[in-house]
Subunit: 244 residues, 2 copies
């Protein structure tokens, strides 16, 4: 009982921190960075932090902890599997559009792509996420996936999920830090910690706090959905289940 | 048995990746950044990445997974507790000296301290590490710490340990990224991905890989030291045990 209460405290905290991250990154880019466009200008770049934080951090993190919600444990797992896959698909789409925004902007300005450590970590996070989604879909939702494969895949899927979250946090922190050094120069240097610098740093702190709460929910075994009983269709892929 | 083999594969991998991180950060700063000194110059700054990567990432990560080594499970936990505390103390000292290096350098050059997101995350990681060490010492090693407190503390200690590792990774990635943008300009810009840029990025990739392997070893419950039996002195603080 106490474990359930502490889970919901963490879950509520992750929702609040996630919302705060999205508000913060939107305010930063709309108010301080001039807003949004899709025209190869720096206004197109502004979609990049908004979509990466919303997709690769907030939506991803909330989608990852879905099975941990005790309310869902007494129910058939299948609808939750589909919701998990759908949320992760939306998160992946946002992340890919977020990458397109920065590639387009770089190409329009003649700036090289994928040279910085930030870009290496960010592209690795997104590529691993896409790979994880495809393998997860094939292993847990499509028919004819052998049970032995699914049992082998599950702990790897959970670990890779937490690993991708860690990569996303590192990519976001390095990206925000880099952006603030790029734009806060001359009259309002980063060193003076003006309002935009504080807002950017606060966004970074919120992302880290969100990530730590999500990683706590993922790693605490008291909050893992109990193993499926023989009568459950917990591990049965979609089409296989339909044929039964 | 298979679980033990896979642990040792991960453990060996973490040792190799940790060694590669230390070699990489030393080569970068000695060969490409001009070496080391303690004179307020940029050569003093060079101690900062070397000591933070060695202390806050490599020594910290290896110290964190010590209890997971199955070889130690059949033995009294106390010597391993003392080794864990000693390794963590050394890691903390290296991190603090690494922070002194950059504060001294900034002060000598008239550069502001603690304004960037990198510095906020890095100082938070070190402060939490110091707090974790003191609370761990008081809770698990000093006498008269009630058993109920130690049982409550243990999962928080493990979670905070993984959280500090995540913060350290984010701080290192943002720091390396920032440093490469600062120093790779003019003739050899970062965008050209010359040898120093590749070495710096490689260091970042190695740190992330090391961190993911360590977080895997910390989170996999098959590799947790089994709970102490009543006859064990597993939970008995040092002096309490001596008095018995």
């Amino acid at each position: 009982m106490r474990s359930t209460v502490s889970f919901y405290v963490c879950f509520l905290l992750s929702l609040c921190l996630g919302l705060a991250c999205v508000v913060c990154v939107c305010v930063w880019n709309s108010h301080w960075r001039g807003g949004f466009a899709w025209d190869g200008s720096s206004l197109q770049f502004n979609w990049h932090p908004v979509l990466m934080v919303t997709g690769l951090v907030v939506l991803y993190g909330n989608g990852a902890v879905l099975y941990r919600v005790p309310l869902t444990w007494g129910q058939n797992k299948l609808p939750w599997k589909l919701l998990h896959a759908t949320l992760m698909f939306l998160a992946l789409i946002l992340a890919i559009v977020g990458l397109c925004a920065v590639f387009d902007f770089h190409n329009a300005k003649g700036i090289a792509n994928l040279y910085s450590l930030h870009s290496w970590i960010g592209i690795a996070a997104t590529a691993l996420f896409a790979f994880q989604w495809v393998v997860g879909m094939a292993g847990f939702l499509l028919p004819y996936s052998p049970e032995s494969f699914r049992k082998l895949l599950k702990p790897i899927h959970v670990w890779m999920g937490a690993g991708i979250m860690t990569l996303s946090i590192a990519a976001c922190i390095s990206g925000i830090n880099e952006k603030l050094f790029f734009v806060l120069t001359k009259d309002q240097p980063y060193t003076k910690l003006g309002p935009e610098a504080v807002l950017g740093n606060l966004l970074g702190v919120l992302i880290v706090a969100f990530g730590l709460v999500v990683l706590k929910m993922l790693s605490d075994h008291r909050w893992q959905r109990p193993d499926s009983r023989p009568e459950d269709i917990d591990y049965t892929p979609v089409l296989q289940e339909e044929n039964e």
